[in-house]
C-alpha cells in the first residue's frame, strides 16, 4: 500500500482520538484517546521509515513510546490522587479554580 493509505489511516485515528478527548468526560478514557493520537503518529513514522528506507522514523517512534509511557504513568497517578480526595470521576466537576 502506498503513501496515501498510511496518511489516511493515521489521520483518521488521530482525529478519532482528538474527538474522544474533546467529548468524553471520564479522565481514563480521555487518556486512552491521547494514547490513540500518539499511536497514530507512531504509525505514520513507521510507514514513512518503510517508504523512505531510513531508520530515523523507527528511532523516533521509540522515543515517542518512552515519552508516552512516562506521560501515562504520571497522568494515572494524578487521576488517582484526585480521586482519593474527591471520589468523583468527571472532569466537568473539577471547577474549583473557576472564578
Amino acid at each position: 500500500m502506498g503513501q496515501e493509505f498510511i496518511l489516511l489511516v493515521s489521520a483518521t485515528i488521530f482525529c478519532i482520538g482528538a474527538f474522544g478527548f474533546m467529548v468524553r468526560k471520564n479522565p481514563l478514557i480521555m487518556f486512552m484517546s491521547v494514547e490513540l493520537m500518539l499511536n497514530s503518529v507512531n504509525f505514520l513514522l513507521i510507514g514513512y521509515s518503510h517508504i523512505l528506507k531510513s531508520l530515523d522514523g523507527q528511532v523516533f517512534a521509540l522515543m515517542i513510546m518512552a515519552v508516552a509511557a512516562a506521560e501515562v504513568v504520571v497522568g494515572l497517578a494524578i487521576i488517582l490522587t484526585i480521586f482519593r480526595t474527591r471520589h468523583d470521576l468527571n472532569v466537568d466537576h473539577l471547577d474549583s479554580l473557576k472564578g
Binding site: F19, K53, M65, T81
Partner: protein, 189 residues
C-alpha cells in the same frame, strides 16, 4: 509470483500483501472508534488493546519487527495493564451518552480537520530524502541490530535524555503516591 490471465496480469504476493494491510488498517480504525464510543471504561481498555495489537501487526507488515515487539510489550502489555489496574481500583462507572450541542461542535470540528488532512494527502510528488536501509539491508543485519546501531551512534543524546525523563517520571509518581495523600485541613481560627 506473477499470475497472467492473458488480458490481465497481477502479482499475487503484492495483492495479498495489500489486502492484509488494508484489513488490519480497517480493524485498527474500527477498534479506535470502539475506544471512543464505548460507555464503560473497561470496554474502552479492551478495544485499545485490540487497537495496539493491530498497530503492531501493521508495524510488522512495514518491516519494523523490533518496534512491533516493543509496541506489544510496552503498550499492549505494561501500559494497558496499568490502565486495567486503575479501572479496577476506581470502578468503571458507565457514562451517560447524549448528543448535545457540545458534541455536535466537536464532531463538526473534527470532521473539518479530517477533511483537510485527507486533502493534504493529495499533494503532488515531493522529493524526499531517502536513506540506505531497504528491506534487504535490514534483513541482512537484523532489525534490532540496525536500530541499535542507529540509536547508539546517531541518536545517543536523545536516548540518554529519554532515560532521564523516565527516571524523573518514576520519582514523580513516588512523590505523588506517597506524600500527596493528606486530607486538606482548614485553619480553624
Amino acid at each position: 509470483m506473477l499470475i497472467d490471465l492473458g488480458w490481465f496480469s497481477f502479482d499475487l504476493f503484492k495483492v495479498t500483501y495489500d489486502g492484509v494491510v488494508l484489513a488490519i488498517g480497517g480493524t485498527a480504525v474500527l477498534a479506535a472508534l470502539g475506544v471512543v464510543l464505548c460507555s464503560s471504561p473497561i470496554y474502552s481498555a479492551l478495544y485499545l488493546i485490540g487497537h495496539m495489537i493491530c498497530l503492531a501487526l501493521l508495524f510488522l507488515m512495514y518491516g519494523a519487527e523490533f518496534i512491533a515487539a516493543v509496541q506489544l510489550i510496552v503498550y499492549a502489555g505494561a501500559v494497558m495493564i496499568l490502565f486495567l489496574f486503575i479501572i479496577a481500583l476506581l470502578g468503571g462507572k458507565k457514562e451517560s451518552q447524549s448528543f448535545d450541542f457540545h458534541k455536535f461542535m466537536a464532531f463538526s470540528f473534527i470532521g473539518t480537520v479530517l477533511a483537510e488532512l485527507a486533502l493534504s494527502t493529495r499533494v503532488g510528488p515531493t522529493q524526499p530524502i531517502t536513506g540506505i536501509f531497504d528491506e534487504k539491508m535490514i534483513a541482512n543485519v537484523g532489525s534490532a541490530k540496525a536500530i541499535g546501531l542507529e540509536l547508539f551512534s546517531k541518536h545517543l543524546i536523545p536516548f540518554e535524555l529519554a532515560s532521564i525523563l523516565l527516571l524523573v517520571a518514576g520519582v514523580g509518581i513516588i512523590c505523588l503516591a506517597k506524600f500527596a495523600y493528606k486530607p486538606v485541613r482548614r485553619r480553624s481560627n
